[in-house]
Symmetry: C2
DNA sequence: TCCATATTTCGTTAATACCCGAAATAACGA
DNA sequence: TCGTTATTTCGGGTATTAACGAAATATGGA
């Protein structure tokens, strides 16, 4: 994870439809959901959503796997972990324990 | 933390100078750094940086406290924690433990 | 092969974000 | 008070990004 990659990920998430899509896929779990299903649940036009999914995938926060006719998108939590680690790298220069953050308690 | 707040935070971080500034302040710890010092360390024009710091502060990822003539900016890690919790809320709908993310190990 | 479904690419238009220098505001010390 | 340093606000020209419908591509079944 480098600066360019982090910026791409943050940019990708900084959009209402894309953030909704990502959080929907977080809830959906590792199997993910096909594009049409995401489109339907979010009420987004397929062509518009396609662009959004493409942006999220290029940013590395989603994975895409084909299942017969459908392409299933899923949240890439490993990359989210790396992104957050990058964001708070060398927290407090190691001087303090002020930076405790716990996820999925 | 709601969707609008999360988008504002992601947008704020999705910029090279702002991401650099935030990570610099993460390293600087809770005391933070004055604006001019950030400007010097990042090689950014004061007026441009001022706008960036304002955006980061409005997004809630930085705090600002005046110390005599200087305004010290510091990373707001509590809000970053909330942001990440929001991002991965209801992970896998509670069905799996696939979503473990640990920060500041 | 040929059709229907799933998804993406393309072209256009509208909105938003960026950078900078100059001027304005704030706070201290002589 | 006056000058100096610290920081922010303003104006404007340029560039990036968004949305949509229509058309194109891909896959599987009859």
């Amino acid at each position: 994870m480098d600066q360019a990659n982090a910026i791409e990920a943050f940019s990708a998430l900084a959009h209402p439809s894309r953030l909704d899509a990502f959080r929907l896929l977080v809830r959906a779990g590792p199997k993910g959901l096909p594009a049409m299903e995401i489109s339907r649940q979010l009420g987004a036009k397929p062509s518009t959503l396609s662009g959004h999914l493409s942006i999220l995938k290029r940013a590395g926060v989603l994975t895409a796997t084909r299942h017969q006719r459908e392409i299933h998108y899923a949240a890439n939590l490993a990359n989210i972990n790396e992104l957050v680690q990058f964001l708070i790298a060398d927290c407090c220069s190691g001087q303090l324990d002020d930076c405790k953050i716990t996820l999925c308690p």
